[in-house]
Subunit: 344 residues, 2 copies
DNA sequence: ATGATAAATGTAATCGATTACATCAATGAT
DNA sequence: ATCATTGATGTAATCGATTACATTTATCAT
């Protein structure tokens, strides 16, 4: 009964109706009589019909897919965001493509091509390092209003975004260390051109200032969110004359790299030096010592970004544009063993 | 000059040729005169033409995309494999979709639908837990010969695969511990239905037997590759009367979970107990202590899997089927600080 | 010079679904 | 009883690229 490649015409014949009716049974069931609808559905079952997405895409100019651009798939931070996004789009029968920014940087493909090739209907960008050139291409091709940012964002790009409250997170971290009794607090930043780096650094500086804590230039150490940059930061700290008693890291990965090398250099965490991270990836609870950190609600970031994109695409159809006021997601301090009162 | 949505017909007009010629200029340039080809290419540039993938897919029945199925995107182990895969397909102008098995389990979508909806031309499966039901669906729909496994595989499925030499890896781990002087060696396994679990456990048991080392049932601890299962295993070890002096873990994540809880329980790694992992993810070098582990060449696994799939798809066109003899990738012992001679 | 062969290009059918518009029947208002 | 209106369904054009087949032109052997 089930034939190999049933087309809509085969279903139409089986049900004794026209192809238009079959199509309507699927996309606008309300237009049909209960009886017709049922008989079409029965015909669909008996033929094993499946709509051909390519044909549909060609005709409707809707790809039924969105792209998620991730700065680095190797960073486990992104997994739960992706899960949140997939979850939301699963309901919509929209597929989610995932790409790593680095792959694109190397192949020299332009992101805008995904839109132009009608491969995607929208883009969720987790990478704030999108080039001005690329943004310009999006605008020129009229697809800029099908893009939302999540986690990261591009300053002044006037695109919708979902973000953790990074400034608040940094404040929480500093206040926590302060309440433990620390006054000499250092910070390992993210890469210099990153928006998160800026927000977290500012939040940190602001809170440290508000609390009247001392500052030293060398206590702001440039990193890039990576394990390796944590290692380098630790080396610097080990060599300092005026060593901080606590370090707030811009990411958990940095904190791991830092703790690893501090320990190798003879400092104990948290006895000799406290460390606080940012992200709360799964491993943070399993590091030695377990990492005090700022939790981002990754799942919420994902679902909200997805919802926001759906909204944009929807508004788009009525020639409107979504607001670019950021949606903020709360962060939370998670106290574990890498932070403790200073010993001296 | 550049018009919004140039179709192939627009290019044809601009170049004063037929659409067939334009199409050939792109897919079979050799068929055309140098002059025609050039003028078509010029017209393509001036119109800003881009081929509409949906139309092409509809006509050629080739999606120009492959799907990679990952058991758990949150595990950073997979990132470099994905990078390897993307790299290879980037050359082929084929897009790579990435999906997490868990998402599918929950949405109740069938994988085979991706094929039936002409959304993909092939599948690289990193998950050996593909259900028999799903495999059957692939076979019934004649797409089973467009699937390759990488890292994991399904026993008796007779599908091509790329694998690390897991047995050899387990042997290397055990021999390393033996050479350090350990005789009481435990093993935390993967999930019981996993092929890797089996291979690594067998390799471990075999080598331990060959070296004449003692065995105890409780030294084989069931895990599931996760951090949490490492924690549970550690609790068991801490409670043992006949405690092993070394533990070989089926994954790095397990090793982290294990070390975290062993340490919390008062045992020092490696002084009181040595730990060896499997995978060599980036973090292994940054844990405290850094983890001795078996390195899998993840990038090679990726590129080889991609090459294998391309080969399958190619053979497929000539109605042939690729061999299901596994392609093996060598593993390597990486000695770091989590393993040392036993103290007693 | 002629016919055969090869090379280059064009014509038009085709992939499969959607949807504007047309048609027909049924309902209700007057 | 007639016309307008609504609701249900059908007809056929359309999305854009590919490619089998047809046609034209050039080349070469005899």
């Amino acid at each position: 009964m089930v034939q190999k490649n049933a087309r809509i015409l085969d279903v139409a014949r089986a049900a004794g109706v026209s192809t238009a009716t079959v199509s309507r049974a699927l996309s606008n069931p309300d237009l049909l009589t209960e009886a017709t609808r049922e008989s079409v559905l029965a015909a669909i079952r008996s033929t094993g019909y499946r709509v051909n997405k390519a044909a549909r895409t060609l005709r409707t100019r809707q790809a039924g897919a969105v792209l998620v651009l991730v700065p680095n798939l190797g960073n486990p931070f992104f997994s739960k965001i992706l899960a949140g996004i997939s979850e939301r789009f699963g309901d919509e029968d929209t597929s989610v493509l995932i790409a790593d920014t680095k792959d694109h940087a190397t192949t020299g493909k332009y992101l805008v091509d995904y839109f132009l090739d009608s491969q995607i209907d929208g883009l969720i960008c987790l990478d704030g390092a999108l080039s001005e050139n690329e943004l310009q291409q999006f605008r020129e091709n009229g697809v800029a209003d099908k893009i939302v940012f999540a986690c990261e964002w591009v300053h002044n790009a006037q695109l919708p975004s979902v973000r953790s409250d990074n400034i608040q997170g940094a404040r929480l971290a500093v206040r926590h260390l302060y309440e433990l009794g620390h006054t000499k607090i250092a910070h390992v930043t993210g890469p210099s051109d990153n928006v998160l780096t800026h927000a977290r650094r500012e939040g940190m500086l602001e809170e440290r200032g508000r609390l009247g804590l001392p500052s030293r230039d060398e206590w702001i150490i440039r990193g890039d969110f990576s394990l390796e940059s944590g290692r380098i930061a630790a080396t610097k700290i080990l060599g300092m004359q005026h060593r901080p008693t606590a370090v707030f890291c811009a990411s958990d990965q940095v904190a791991f790299g830092l703790m690893s090398t501090l320990t190798a250099g003879g400092l104990r965490v948290p006895e000799d030096i406290s460390v606080v991270g940012f992200d709360d990836i799964e491993l943070s609870d399993f590091y030695v010592p377990s990492l005090t950190t700022i939790r981002q609600d990754r799942h919420a970031l994902g679902t909200k970004a997805a919802a926001l994109l759906l909204e944009c695409i929807d508004l788009n159809k009525s020639a409107k544009t979504a607001t670019d006021t950021p949606v903020f997601v709360d962060v939370e301090l998670v106290v574990r063993q890498s932070s403790a009162p200073p010993t001296s």
